[in-house]
Amino acid sequence: MFPLATPSIPDVVQSIPLQNYVLLATTLFIIGIVGVLTRRNALIIFMSIELMLNAVNLLLIAFSTYKSDPVGQVFVFFIMAVAAAEVAVGLAIIVMIYRNTRTIDIGFLNKLKW
């Protein structure tokens, strides 16, 4: 006997209502925003921003699957590629600051004030 055909991935994704995906993505996004606004360590802020971007990716994939439209998933690839480039530059900036000040706490960055 052949085993039952495995359900296709869109079917699996669609077994959960769209609303739940939106809620999950929004929650992740808000956790990211709160992290950016409250943390003092540049790396943790950076991680929070990545969390925001990944919340967007999740949302896009959920919409894309529900609409059976591949464009949303293509956008996710763009976001991942660009986020990688951004990480490279951002980490370089953080390393540069660490070399000059021996800290990455943004509270110590107060040279610019009016």
Binding site: M52, V71, N100
Partner: protein
């Protein structure tokens, strides 16, 4: 779409020129590239509006005019760099290449037809600017500016992307025309569309530093090397406004009644925050940062109105603003280098201009014209820029906003005149500054353009 292709390829050529021991070839090569791209940009001026790359990019007279402004500003700014020969730790090849690549992003932002292209364009421009802001590696102020710009920029990108995702969820497309079709067809669009549009707008307004999302601007503009501050305050802002205009007029003119009030409140806040804070600045460079916020407010006024005239109004305003800003920063760079020998702290304050008029009449005149243009005094391009913006707002009947804008532009006269007063009325020990002939030519050219457009504004207005 020739500019995008040419800038990408020739940018690489400039990067490889950096392998040579002599760095003297880089500046003329970059200028040549920009001149070629500027010509290529206008090659299709008389063609019909058309779509490129599978409906990803759009080109018509408006986008060509805006790309032209951006490329021309870049040409002037690159000409003012003097090849970075003064600075031993500078890496001119990388700087010029990043400038050329960032222009690719700017042109994409101006001509986007698909939100994917908007995102990619903004990121190309922003990531290049993060690097250039932090290019003064040993300087803590530059470091700090780069980190602030980076964190705020990435944060804004996150918000903008979430907005795009919600718009996609609501309309099922990233294409501007398709979104417009959806907005037109559904009389009562979903809450998801509204929230998505708002978050997308917030992300974009972050990039053009509109209040209340402007708090990063003064620090970043102040800390970055002056030449890249010039680049940020002209090119990033111009491209950002073109993108917001394309977005609002291209897709969301159908639900004007929904977003105009939000944008109106942001406009008024921007005008108030920019102008009133600028009054209290002691540093000229920081004053210019707040001035750029206030000019964002005037441009937003025209976007809030969104009449048929808005298009040519923002083209004219961006050009007038960019040219005046470039010549103001051009003078500042020369003066700061001269006074910076004695004390680094005072190099960028208003007092640096003390006594400029006596020994350096040309520089003082260039500074005066650019300040007058930024303040919007008649016979300069800035006056007509403000006039067109205000008349488009008047057409829409936004009288209360107009009153605030005019009041704020009188406040603007106060702080712009502080620089002129320092140059002519105050005594100072500034000696005659040596200006290279080419640098002098660029400063004279920007001044002449400002005056010519001040006398004959119809020349440009009729084109677009």
């Amino acid at each position: 779409m020739l500019p995008i292709v040419l800038l990408s390829i020739l940018g690489l050529v400039v990067l490889f020129l950096g392998f040579q021991k002599s760095k003297n070839l880089l500046l003329p090569a970059t200028l040549l590239v920009l001149a070629i791209v500027l010509v290529a940009n206008f090659l299709h001026w008389n063609d019909m509006p058309s779509l490129y790359f599978k409906n990803m990019l759009f080109e018509n007279k408006f986008t060509m005019a805006f790309s032209g402004i951006v490329i021309f500003s870049a040409f002037l700014i690159v000409a003012l760099t003097r090849g970075f020969v003064d600075d031993e730790s500078a890496q001119p090849a990388e700087y010029y290449t990043l400038m050329l690549f960032s222009l690719v992003g700017a042109v994409m932002m101006i001509g986007f037809e698909n939100l994917i292209m908007l995102f990619v364009g903004i990121e190309i421009l922003s990531v290049s600017m993060f690097i250039l802001t932090g290019s003064d590696k040993k300087n803590l102020r530059s470091n700090e500016a780069a980190l602030k710009y980076f964190l705020m920029g990435a944060f804004a990108t996150g918000i903008m992307l979430f907005g795009m995702a919600l718009l996609y969820g609501a309309t099922g497309s990233f294409n501007l025309t398709a979104i417009k079709g959806y907005v037109m067809a559904n009389n009562a669009p979903s809450a998801m569309l509204y929230v998505g549009l708002l978050m997308l707008l917030i992300g974009m307004l972050f990039k053009v530093s509109a209040a209340p999302f402007h708090f990063w601007t003064p620090d970043v503009y102040d800390g970055a090397p002056t030449i890249f501050t010039t680049y940020m305050s002209t090119i990033v802002k111009t491209a950002g406004f073109a993108a917001i205009y394309r977005l609002l007029s291209g897709s969301f003119s159908g639900i004007y009644s929904f977003w105009w009030m939000t944008l109106a409140v942001i406009t008024v806040l921007t005008l108030l925050a920019g102008n009133i804070t600028a009054v209290y600045q002691t540093s000229f460079k920081r004053m210019m940062a707040y001035s750029s916020i206030s000019h964002a407010g005037y441009l937003l006024l025209s976007l809030t109105a969104l009449t048929n005239q808005s298009q040519s109004a923002i083209v004219f305003y961006s050009l007038a603003y960019s040219i005046a800003t470039i010549s103001a920063f051009g003078v500042l760079m020369l003066v700061a280098k001269e006074t910076g020998v004695h004390s680094y702290e005072n190099a960028e304050r208003f007092e640096a201009f003390n006594g400029l008029g006596k020994k350096n009449p040309l520089l003082a005149f260039v500074l005066t014209v650019s300040m007058l243009s930024l303040a919007g005094i008649p016979l300069t391009a800035g006056f007509w820029g403000k006039f067109f913006v205000f008349s488009s707002a008047a057409d829409r009947g936004l009288t209360w906003m107009l009153v605030i804008a005019i009041l704020m532009s009188t406040v603007g006269i106060y702080y712009y005149f502080k620089a002129i007063i320092a140059a002519y009325m105050r005594e100072g020990e500034l000696s005659a500054i040596k200006v290279s002939p080419f640098y002098r030519l660029i400063l004279i050219a920007t001044t002449i353009i400002t005056l010519v457009f001040g006398l004959m504004p119809d020349f440009l207005k009729g084109l677009v």
